[in-house]
Structure formats: C-alpha cells, structure tokens
Symmetry: C2
Amino acid sequence: MTERRASAQELAALSYAVLTSAGADPDSAEATTGAMLHASLLGVDSHGIRLLPFYADCLRDGICNPKPKITVSHPRRSAVLVDADDGLGHLPTYRAMDEACAIARDTGIGMGVVINSTHFGAAGAYALAAANAGFIGFVTCNSGAFVVPYGGKKPIHGTSPIAMAAPLESRDPYFLDMATSSIPWNKVMRYRTEGLELPPDAALDAEGQYTLDPNMAVCLGPVGGSGFGYKGAALAGLAEVLGAMLTGMRLSIEQEGVVLADTKVGHFVMAIDPSTFVPLAVFNERHAGYLDGFKAEPGIMPAGGPEWAKRIDREAKGIPLAEGLHRELADAADKAKVAFSL
Amino acid sequence: MTERRASAQELAALSYAVLTSAGADPDSAEATTGAMLHASLLGVDSHGIRLLPFYADCLRDGICNPKPKITVSHPRRSAVLVDADDGLGHLPTYRAMDEACAIARDTGIGMGVVINSTHFGAAGAYALAAANAGFIGFVTCNSGAFVVPYGGKKPIHGTSPIAMAAPLESRDPYFLDMATSSIPWNKVMRYRTEGLELPPDAALDAEGQYTLDPNMAVCLGPVGGSGFGYKGAALAGLAEVLGAMLTGMRLSIEQEGVVLADTKVGHFVMAIDPSTFVPLAVFNERHAGYLDGFKAEPGIMPAGGPEWAKRIDREAKGIPLAEGLHRELADAADKAKVAFSL
C-alpha cells in the first residue's frame, strides 16, 4: 500500500475550515494553521497537523477564546507585551515576534512576552519567522509539569522548549528547536502502540525509576538523563524564568499538566539584529563558515539539518498521513461539518 | 592530614599580586581575580584559582595584552560593544554586563558583546553580577573546538558555556552555568590521575568512539551523549551564533583549541529588567514559588543549589587547596617574585 500524503496547501485549507467552523476568527485560524504547517513540513510531527483536532476541541470547549481581543503595548523601549486574551497561542506569539523584530531593527535587540495565552505549538515556528525576516530569533516557554528534576521522582518542569534561528539568505540556516526533556511524551505513546523499547534515560515509572518499558512510563527525564540531567533541568529552569517569572504567568507546577490544554500560559520571544555589531556580510560569512564545518564528515549536520531535509521531501511529495492521523483528521472534519477529501 | 584551605581574601591578595607582577594593570588584575574567586567560592574549581598560573603566563608570554585600552561604544540604543584590546577577558566582560544592565534599566533589555578578547573564566560570574545588580543575566561564548557534533568523530564545537542568573533578594536565586559538553576536559585529566573510569557517553577516543578510559579520551561529546547529543550540539551552535557570528570573532573550528589560550574570542552578554512586564514583587513571588517547588522531595535542588551549598562551606572554612594546586600556586608566586604563605 502506498503511503498516504497530502500537500501543505490541502492541509492548510482543511485546518482553516475546521478552525473557523469551531469558532476561530480568521486571523487566529490562519496563524494556528501556519504554525502547524511549519512543524508538519519540517518533520516535527508532534506539533504538526495532528494538533488540529485538539485545537478545534479547545475552541469548542471554551478552553481557548475563539475571538480574542489581542492587545499590544510597549511598557519599555525594547519590550513589547502582547495579551492573548485567552485565545490560541499562535497569533499573539507571531505578533510578539513581529514587534520584537521591529524593535530590534531600531535598538539592536527586542523582546516580547505573551500573557494569558494557551498552547502555541512548535516554538521554532516563531524563531524561524524572525530569521525569515532577517533577525536572530529566540523563543522559549514553560509548560505543564511532566519532567522530573535531576535526581527526583516527581515532575517539576515541563518539556519546556528552547528555539533559536539565525538568518542566512539563499541557504538553510542554523535552526534549533528542542524540548528540555530527552523525548516528548507522544514518543512514549507511539512506542506503546508499536511495542518498542524506549531509549535509556528518557522516561520514568511511577516509582521514579528510569524505565525502558513505555507501558510503565508515567513522566519524562531531563536532557542529560541520569548522568547529566542537571543540565537539562537547569535549561527547563531558564524557561520558567522567561516564561513564567518575567511574564507573571503560571509556573509548570501550577499548570494542570493535562496534555497541552493549559491556560494562563506565558511565552517569551526575542529578536536580535545580526548587523548590530558587524556588517551583515560578516555575520553571513561567519554563519556560512559554521555550516561549512559540518562538511568535514559524512552524516553530521548542524542544528536544523534534519528539518531542512524533511522539508525538501515534504514540499515535493506531501506530508505523510499515517492511518491513525488520517482518521483523526477525518473525524475532526466531520465534527466541524467540513468536507474531507484527503 | 588536615585538608589545606585558604580564605577567599588570602587567595585574592595572592592573585592580585601575581597578576600585577606579571604586568596586568590594576583594573584587569582585580576583575580577573574576582572572576576566579567567584568560581572558587561556588565550587567551580575548573575555573577557580587554579587558572592563576595560566593567566600569569598568558600575560608574560604576550598572549594577553597586560594593559589593554578597553573601549566601549553603543552602536544601537540597546547594544553595547566592548573592545577588549586583546587583554584578559574578565574586565571587558564585567564592563559589558554593567552596560547591558544600565541599558536594561532604561529599555527593558540590553545586550553587549566583547570583541578581541581572550579566556574569560566562568561565564556564570557575569550572569551573577547582573543578578546581584537586580537583573536577569545571560552569558554565552564559543571556545576552541574540542567537542564532536552529534554522530561525528572530529570536534566542531567548544565546551561553549551558557549561563543565566535571575535576581532574588535575601535568597539564593536560580543560577545556571553549564558547558554544552557533558563534562569538562579537566575532568578527563583528573580521572587519569586518579585512575577512575569516565562516565558513559561523555568522552571519545581517537577513533571517534565513546570511551570510559580517560587515557584513551582525546575529545568530548555534547550534552545528551550518543542518544540525544543533537540537543547539546545545537546549544553549542547557539554559542557560535552569539559568540562568533554576531561579534565577527572566531568560530570554534578556527580557534587553536590549545587549552584556553585562544585569542580574538567573542563573548555575548544580556541583561533583562525583571520588572519590565510585571511589578518586581510578582517576579519575586514567581521566582520564590519556583524554588519552593524543589522542597517537594529530599535531595533535589534548583540550578545553583549545589553552588550555594559550596559557597556556605567555603566562606566559612576557606577554599580547599589540594596538594597539586598548592604547589602550582607556590610556583606561580615564585615565578612572579611574590611572597607565598598559604
């Protein structure tokens, strides 16, 4: 049987129709669709189109405000505050990053926070938006407690992501989008379905012991695992500082931990003008030199390399829709009374 | 035999005398001494007073300019550029962070880069300086290539540190200071001396295979090791973006990799005013709530916890001087014709 695939355009049309049918205003539906397609095209399927049914349910169930009145203010010269009014997290975060870039153009660096937000999908979407606009983009946020601290048994941190992208014309740039846990929870779920063993040092059982059995796993461990997990945990702390303390929003331990559906979430974005200290040509030459360093050996790639390879494949052949995902999307369309022809 | 210890004051006096005798101007000697004592007091011995003989040699050998003309300019409203004039890296980095804090007070966020610099010791020293001044401090730089990329056999990245500290009055705050490798090289050296096995997934042999034998190790692996080292490598890439591309200074692969003695190095610092988006009291309450979360289980600590415990011990009892370190300091004093009475 041939693998079923759909083009980004087809999925975007479906997403927009489902989200607006679930009540989303056009701008929110477009931004959420864009962030999901970013992830689907780059192979980050955990944050891709599979989230469409979840977002539609959040809108229908009143977890997200479908027609938020997003407000933007500038409490300081290089800082923008975006109030998401409890809407979907994507539109206000794109907006915060746009404003951060505008500030960076002027002052060299701009930061933005989003308050009263909800799940914003892949952090990398906003970092890459900055890079596409010619800026170094940095994004982080904390998320519901699901990751134990180093040496601990009970979750304190979320899988709290850190993302960064650097601009480079006519070439795929440095691009980082990582969870501060070793693996995402949906990998545990997938390994359960497929009957596979987990990688070591990634997930813990109810006794707080690292386990290889996905059926025994109840939470995750920080990057670095049993040996060096204090580093991953410290990076998750960075996400708490910028995502919760700076914004006044909820700490990971205060969030439900109910998968993805947390509210009163904060996000942090930052943009830096790469030509602040050196001419852009120098930045570009340094950037290209860094990427070229990875030609020294076969099989190694800079951060972003695997994503760019996926994008080429998926732009050409479409985004794979496994049987389960296809069914979930069909159900979501049905629920929204939207035609489904993928 | 009782362990030999010396007070921070005694070590600072020795350091200042040795560095000025080696030619350093008073400001440089004071800043370098301060950064080393920061590390020694917090138990980060790899970057503590053991570096004194190395810095003195760098001054005498002409690797560092002993009397640099440090210049400070503001190319953009929220950006400061500090030219270290090839001097020791500590003074210009403290200066850059001071300026970044002053900018953050005004615009919410300030960034600084240091160019034409050399080794700056523990990145955490400057992040903590910002926190002590009431700001969130962030510091990174790249360093000589000594760490293989994920799946690779040849070093591309340095142990390139990332440091962050958040302010909190009357309580030890969140504090991160990590290498993007699993372990520092001096741990390999120490394990050789002590005849111990290395932790798994930390160092590689000349064939590019992870090894437990410190005598076979020739370079290091990224945080995350053989399973998830793409995350550590991506974080080292972040240090390249901010430490080399943004500053126009040398990439890790362009640096000698000769231990610590690289020149034309760039550093990046950033300060954020914690009261930009919320009243300081809210930031402090969030920060304290985060730290309190670690009381849920015995034995777990937030980032910085181990360092604060060391500081209490060392402020009370002095900084331990193992036999080898004591001898190295005595030799350094002798070389500088400085009295030694530790």
